[in-house]
């Protein structure tokens, strides 16, 4: 198994500078300062690294869009606001190996011509911010940060900033507003951050995992990185696996691993808990469409589904999903999909910033309809209404939170309509909190009661 990001994680001392250096840490900086910044951008382009924050946009491309002609200072901001339900990989990396992110920030800043970089940490992860701050202190004393890094002309300051704990502040422009000390409202784009970002200056925003992959790319070269993985899904990806599996946790996988192997192999999830049947998977964090067992293991055309951007997206939104941020949520046959969808809708309703009308009003409406259906007060028309409301939000909002709220709802109805109908037709049977409509049997009349949803 290749490990680039989590390399050395079994050694607890890697959290500190000496331990990290013993594992070869900070070598990429020595190499980087002998290279020209644009050559590093070129290497990152060659590596095929794609943004690990959710959208999967080429990191090298993003870097090359940075406005280098403007005479304003340039900024690099690391998005460590990880708040997507089901995703907890950045936190793990920062907790265990904070220096890998810091090294990535230094090398990336060098490549982008940045003098001052920021790491925006989610408010709830206060201990992670403390780890990072300690590590930043160590890096300053070792001469990796500050003026004339390792005797070169390159100087960099790195600031850890803690948010107040809002999902919306993970959206890059809301993050910038928050970092500037304002309310975390997403900006209306264009202009994009590459032209006008933090304090109106050209800015690159990348996810923790994207930045942490850069040192390896600089040390070993972009070509070496692009050989890992398959096709356009190069390198490794951290997957945070949770739900009804035997071995939940964060795994570094080589992209291209079959989904079936990931779920059932003893090296990864280790199969479904208590030997139950797999019912559904949310493959990339709560925002991506949910897929039923038969579509997550194999694509609609019968190909084995792989953990890659392309394969998970095979079939578009009709029968596919997205790799997203790698929050892999597994559900067994005791799960009530309606209840799960309601829970997600509740999250998005709570986290909508309220700036634009479709998201502000629509997320609340969807939650209410789902609440009604789940508690046995829904009607057949409510199911269509639900899909219709999700369509009114999707694509019409300022930022992607609206889409993130609409997709899980639309896909749950698309793939598990029978379960919604069951709730409508048998209100008496869905009032117990641990009820479950048995999807595996595909019969409306059959219902099993799990003792508890463990």
């Amino acid at each position: 198994m290749v490990k680039l990001l989590l390399d050395g994680i079994e050694d607890p001392s890697i959290r500190y500078l000496n331990g990290y250096r013993a594992h070869g840490g900070y070598q990429s900086i020595e190499k980087a300062i002998t290279m020209s910044p644009l050559d590093i951008v070129e290497e990152v382009k060659k590596s095929g690294l794609r943004g690990r924050g959710g959208a999967g946009f080429s990191t090298g491309m993003k870097w090359s869009f940075l406005d280098r002609k403007s005479d304003k200072p340039r900024y690099l901001v690391c998005n460590a606001d990880e708040s997507e339900p089901g995703t907890f990989k950045d936190r793990y990396l920062m907790e265990k190996i904070p220096h890998r992110l810091i090294e990535g920030m230094i090398v990336s800043s060098y490549a982008l011509g940045v003098r001052h970089a920021f790491i925006y940490v989610r408010g709830e992860l206060i201990w992670v911010a403390k780890h990072l701050e300690h590590a930043v202190g160590e890096a300053y004393s070792a001469g990796y940060l500050g003026n004339h890094i390792l005797g070169s002309n390159f100087s960099l300051d790195l600031t850890i900033h803690v948010g107040a704990g809002a999902y919306i502040c993970g959206e890059e422009s809301a993050l910038l507003e928050s970092l500037e000390g304002k309310r975390g409202y997403p900006r209306i784009k264009p202009p994009f951050p590459a032209v006008s970002g933090l304090y109106g200056c050209p800015t690159v925003i990348n996810n923790v995992e994207s930045i942490a992959a850069v040192p390896w790319i600089v040390t070993h070269g972009g070509d070496a990185y692009s050989k890992i993985g398959v096709d356009k899904s190069t390198g490794t990806k951290l997957i945070s696996a949770s739900g009804h599996i035997n071995r939940p946790g964060v795994y570094e996988i080589e992209l291209g691993l079959p989904v079936e192997e990931f779920i059932y192999s003893e090296s990864y999830c280790g199969g479904i808990k208590n030997g139950r049947a797999l019912k559904a998977v949310i493959a990339g964090g709560s925002s991506v469409p949910i897929l039923p067992a038969e579509l997550i293991l194999k694509t609609a055309s019968g190909q084995p589904r792989l953990m890659t951007y392309e394969s998970l997206n095979d079939g578009g939104f009709t029968s596919g999903t997205m790799l997203g941020s790698g929050g892999f949520i597994v559900m067994d046959d005791t799960t009530c999909i309606v209840r799960n969808t309601w829970n997600l809708a509740r999250f998005y309703h709570h986290e909508s910033c309220g700036q634009c009308s479709p998201c502000r009003e629509g997320t609340g409406w969807m939650e209410k309809i789902l609440h009604r259906i789940e508690h046995g007060h829904g009607t057949q028309a409510d199911i269509d209404l639900l899909v219709d409301v999700s369509k009114k939000i999707e694509g019409n909002t300022i930022c992607a939170l609206g889409d993130a709220a609409a997709w899980p709802v639309a896909s749950a109805v698309r793939h598990f309509r029978h379960e919604f109908e069951f709730h409508v037709r048998h209100p008496d049977q869905v009032t117990a909190p641990n009820h479950v409509a048995n999807a595996a049997a595909y019969k409306y009349e059959e219902i099993t009661h799990a003792k508890n949803n463990d």
């Binding site: 209306i188 910033c353 634009c356 009308s357 502000r360 997320t363 609340g364 019409n396 300022i398």
Partner: protein, 304 residues
């Protein structure tokens, strides 16, 4: 100068014009509806999403369409851009959706609302709304708040267009007025109910597209269509001194700023003109104020 085609009508505009302003140059009545954008307020727009249009060709050099509907008020034109507004079923359907969403928590209390007759939301609903609601849950409710002795806030009616926030920010000093809370719990507020006390605070009433901010000195005095608007001016030290007097007989019931064809206030007026000059002898009357023919106010069967 870039040329842009909107619903097959071509218009030439200066560089840096938005699709909205280009469409208004063609005809203010067919331009996309704007509930949040106000040309006199910096940074406004982009929030209500009623002005979404479809860009079928981005520019002369980039013939590709834009992937999503874009807000006309915040998207700049490019040479050779082709836009579909009222001619696109997708746009009309999205607009209907937005109106529905704007109304689900709206109290629909037009019969007792002072804004009725000159309400942008009422007009928008008339044009794009459905006859009935599909929303069966309880509507959001807030207590009515007093923002000082001149302005009343009915948060229930607010559509969170942020116009008043920008107006308060840009026309008055101090930062008392803003949005509290998040998501659909957001509300307009003055921090700890601090009253708005400022020479230009009355303009918040004028920029509000709905009846959320109303004039306390006019509340419940009359329906607007029973009054007659006339243009008038006066010598004023603080503002332009150009207002609209709303008359019933010779009595001045209220005073507002002047509006352009799309209902935006063109020049902001001070509180002395608005609230303390309610008598014809304070003013030099110029003549009847232009009112859109389709507006209920222009029917005006009731005044002498």
């Amino acid at each position: 100068m870039p040329k842009i085609t909107i619903d097959s009508i071509e218009v030439e505009v200066v560089q840096g014009t938005t699709i909205m302003d280009a469409a208004r140059q063609i005809d203010p009545h067919t331009a996309p509806p704007a509930m949040c954008y106000h040309s006199g307020l910096n940074g406004s727009g982009g929030k209500c999403r009623t002005c979404l249009v479809k860009v079928v060709q981005t520019s002369e050099t980039n013939p590709r369409p834009m992937p999503k509907l874009v807000p006309a008020c915040r998207t700049l034109v490019e040479d050779g851009m082709k836009v579909e507004n009222n001619s696109s079923p997708e746009v009309i359907s999205a607009r209907k959706g937005i109106v529905e969403l704007l109304l689900i928590n709206h109290p629909l209390d037009c019969p007792v609302c002072d804004q009725a007759g000159e309400c942008d939301l009422q007009n928008l609903t008339f044009q794009h709304g459905a006859e009935t609601t599909r929303y069966t849950e309880d509507r959001r409710r807030y207590p009515t708040k007093s923002l000082g002795n001149l302005i009343q806030l009915h948060m229930n009616r607010c559509i969170l267009c942020f116009r008043c926030v920008y107006a308060a920010d840009q026309l008055t000093d101090g930062r008392d007025h803003g949005v509290l809370n998040r998501g659909d719990a957001s509300e307009i507020g003055t921090y700890i109910e601090k009253s708005i006390d400022n020479d230009f605070s009355g303009n918040l009433i004028d920029v509000c597209p709905v009846g959320a901010l109303t004039d306390k000195t006019f509340r419940f005095k009359s329906r607007v269509w029973f009054t007659k608007p006339v243009y008038a001016h006066r010598q004023c030290e603080t503002c332009c001194g150009k207002g609209v007097l709303w008359l019933k007989g010779h009595e001045v019931l209220r005073i507002t700023g002047r509006r352009n064809a799309v209902g935006e206030v063109t020049e902001f007026i001070c509180n002395t003109c608005r609230f303390e000059s309610k008598s014809l002898h304070h003013w030099e009357v110029e003549g009847p104020a232009p009112i859109d023919q389709r507006s209920v106010i222009s029917q005006n069967h009731y005044t002498s």
